[in-house]
């Protein structure tokens, strides 16, 4: 149990560190846009979704209508539906007192650690996942707090390119997992489609890119297993 707690923390640590620029940016950007310290921290404590928070801060500051803000939040968050679907069969037999906290911390980062066949299925693995998930939660809120305190002292961080830290971490999570043609083609499709759609300002770029890439991966793996059967 102690071991699972520690392993969850340690496995998530590099991701907690890589998100420092984003967390600080989230805090300082909100302060610079007229949020109070409480509101800024509450956002990280309750919403706990980096990309949705950053976009919402800009929208709220621009006096965007509430419905537009909520719709945008929904679009950005809709990738979580995929995560829920993908881990459903592993988590669904657990009682609500485990499923609730797991779903609360089911971020991109935690999902990246959810692939083991037995993930979420034993008590040790649940503790591992919650330790990883909540250490990321605590880190995110800590970095937000630093951003709030530093707030107006900091220059405009938006154009410093610190988002590259996210790219570097996700590269580290994705590349070692490419072990067959189907996954390679999934990754290539996701990259190309997301880049094109995002540059065209298509609102659903993330979900559309993910779904088309998953279809390619699935199609290729089906074709391959058919060929194996016919040989």
């Amino acid at each position: 149990m102690k071991k699972a707690l520690l392993k969850g923390f340690l496995d998530m640590l590099p991701l907690c560190l890589a998100v420092i620029p984003w967390g600080i940016l989230c805090g300082s950007l909100a302060i610079q846009n007229g949020f109070s310290a409480y509101e800024t921290q509450a956002m990280s404590l309750l919403v706990f979704a980096g990309s949705a928070q950053l976009v919402a801060i800009e929208l709220i500051a621009g006096n965007t209508p509430l419905l537009t803000i909520l719709f945008t939040t929904f679009i950005i968050s809709s990738r979580h539906f995929l995560y829920g679907l993908a881990v459903r069969h592993k988590v669904i037999d657990q009682p609500l007192r485990w499923r609730l906290p797991v779903s609360f911390v089911l971020t991109d980062e935690l999902f990246a650690f959810s692939h083991h066949r037995k993930a979420y299925r034993t008590k040790t693995r649940l503790i591992y996942a919650l330790s990883a998930g909540f250490s990321f939660y605590i880190a995110w809120n800590l970095w937000t707090l630093i951003g709030i305190v530093a707030g107006s002292l900091l220059p405009d961080l938006t154009n410093l390119g610190l988002d590259f830290a996210i790219a570097a971490t996700f590269i580290a999570l994705v590349i070692p997992g490419i072990k067959n043609l189907a996954t390679l083609l999934t990754v290539l499709t996701a990259g190309v489609v997301a880049t094109v759609l995002k540059s065209l300002h298509f609102e659903l770029w993330l979900v559309a890119a993910a779904l088309s890439a998953m279809s390619v991966g699935y199609g290729v793996s089906r074709l391959q297993s058919k060929q194996e059967h016919s040989q």
Partner: protein, 99 residues
């Protein structure tokens, strides 16, 4: 403002919890499961690749783009070492030098 934040919190939590809700009457079959097994590489890549290539003006394929050189270095290190620390340190280090 607090109302907006609370409503946003409801939305993100709803998207995370919905399919972990037991009363939803469906089972994810083996084919769907296989389809979903590609969701992590698909979503994570769809997030990081545009960070590298897309800026305010559109798609940037310039070799002088520090995002691109640092990303290539990070991909090579990730491929060789499978180590998340080495990958982020080399990627970020090179990026900060070039930028």
């Amino acid at each position: 403002m607090m109302t907006t934040i609370l409503l946003m919190a409801c939305i993100t939590f709803f998207t995370r919890y919905l399919f972990l809700h037991r009363a939803l009457p469906f089972k994810v079959g083996p084919k769907m499961q296989q389809f979903l097994s590609f969701s992590a590489p698909a979503v994570l890549t769809a997030i990081w690749v545009p960070i590298v290539f897309v800026n305010d003006e559109g798609i940037n394929l310039d070799w002088q783009n520090p995002y691109l050189s640092a990303a290539i270095a990070a991909v090579l290190v990730a491929y060789k070492t499978h180590n998340i620390y080495y990958t982020t340190v080399v990627g970020m280090g090179l990026f900060l030098i070039l930028n």
